[in-house]
């Protein structure tokens, strides 16, 4: 389209000697969209495309005066400043319908999966009163819901990501469908609700799903928006361990102590009260480990200054 070319070329020339900040880039894109709308309006009134582009550009006036009239933003002093500005400038509104759909589907999905997990953990006795065929309904519905959730999420444009092309999104969706169906069937077989042939089928589906995910992951190209790429390339690591090696060393020693105590307790409890309860020692160690990590990595911003 010739008119779009004209607008793009004009904008590139006009912004050539203007310092590139997130604010000026944002202004340029906003002007581009508005110019195109003005051109469409003029063309609808019968102006020829070339003339319409020229008129819209003339009407806009001097870009420099325009740039002077806005706050173009100062060079970032801290990485966090740039991030906050970029996020504000590039915000894309969430579709409320998408959020509502996702919440409803997730709730239904949670009920279905809870049923499968209960069957797997406690045997078919718990769900034995349900009529035959119910489990196939649960398997089908939960797999379908996951597939819908996945494709829906990947097709949303977000502030950070462009939407995924439909075919690839369907690929992820299909892989998820296969995976969930496979795991459902495996769970039902373990619970004794389905025969062994079903178990083999479930494993096959799960493996196929895994292969599909690996293929999709390996062939995945960049989906992030330019501003996110730019931000990531300039972002400096600001966590505490990078800035304070002594804290990192101390955390290392704490970790060793926590796990020695945890594993020691696990062995002791396994001997004394058996495996039924001894795993709680490992769980406890894991909780303490993460609490210490959170406390040491993020907890001391004030003290640092």
């Amino acid at each position: 389209m010739a008119t779009t070319d004209n607008i793009d070329r004009y904008l590139d020339e006009a912004f050539a000697d203007i310092p590139r900040t997130p604010e000026t880039a944002d202004l340029k894109e906003e002007i581009r969209g508005n110019l195109q709308s003005r051109v469409s309006e003029l063309e609808a009134d019968g102006t020829k495309p070339e003339a319409a582009a020229a008129k819209a550009i003339t009407e806009l006036g001097d870009i420099h005066a325009l740039v002077d009239s806005i706050d173009v933003g100062e060079p970032a002093t801290r990485p966090g400043d740039t991030a906050a500005r970029l996020i504000a400038l590039n915000k894309v509104k969430t579709d409320p319908g998408y959020v509502v759909r996702t919440v409803i589907f997730s709730l239904v999905l949670a009920v279905m999966l809870a049923g499968v997990i209960v069957t797997a953990a406690f045997g078919s006795g718990t769900t034995g009163t349900l009529p035959n065929g119910t489990e196939w309904f649960a398997v089908g519905l939960s797999a379908l819901l996951v597939a819908i959730l996945v494709v829906d999420a990947l097709r949303q444009e977000t502030s950070q990501h462009f939407r995924m092309p439909l075919r690839r999104a369907l690929g992820y969706s299909g892989a998820a469908l296969l995976g969930v169906a496979g795991l459902d069937v495996i769970g039902l077989s373990i619970g004794g609700r389905e025969p062994e042939e079903a178990f083999a089928g479930g494993v096959t589906a799960a493996v196929l799903s895994l292969i599909a995910f690996i293929w999709l992951g390996v062939t995945q190209t960049n989906r992030r928006k330019p501003w996110v790429k730019e931000l990531n390339s300039t972002y400096e690591i600001e966590d505490r361990f990078s800035n304070d090696p002594a804290a990192a060393a101390r955390f290392g020693i704490y970790t060793v102590v926590i796990w020695i105590v945890g594993i020691g307790l696990f062995v002791l409890l396994s001997i004394v009260v058996g495996f039924t309860w001894s795993w709680l020692a490992l769980l406890g160690a894991l909780v303490v480990f993460f609490l210490v990590l959170a406390r040491m990595l993020f907890g001391f911003d004030q003290a640092k200054k």
Partner: protein, 123 residues
């Protein structure tokens, strides 16, 4: 867009300076019922006055940014897949409050000015 319109002369039936002082409120007013993008706002204002008054685009771009900074409107990019992407503006609750207050202020000021302009004095 002011280049092809005659430069404001003293014979204009309105004061551009006075109008310019109310740009923020005028823009907030166009956003009361629906979210709009820049050119839509420009067009709404232009068409509302039958073309008598055209806000300068530079003024509008500066206004949008000031309103966003003050939290009176939210800005976000629309998800148009073809053609130019549009930056939409939506009035916030704070923006509505400021709009209502400014309109009330203007009405009060207008009454006072009308009264004062008609006053000859009693002595």
């Amino acid at each position: 867009m002011s280049n092809n319109t005659p430069a404001p002369a003293s014979s204009d039936a309105f004061s551009s300076d006075l109008l310019r002082g109310h740009t923020d409120t005028i823009v907030l007013g166009t956003l009361r019922d629906t979210e709009r993008y820049g050119f839509e706002i420009y067009k709404t204002i232009r068409d509302a006055t039958g073309g008598d008054y055209e806000i300068k685009e530079a003024t509008l771009y500066a206004t949008f940014r000031r309103l966003v900074k003050d939290g009176l409107v939210d800005a976000y990019w629309g998800d148009e897949t073809q053609g130019g992407r549009r930056k939409y503006y939506r009035i916030t609750d704070a923006g509505r409050a400021v709009y209502t207050r400014n309109v009330a202020d203007w009405n009060a000021t207008q009454r006072i000015i009308n009264t004062l302009l008609g006053t000859k004095g009693t002595n």
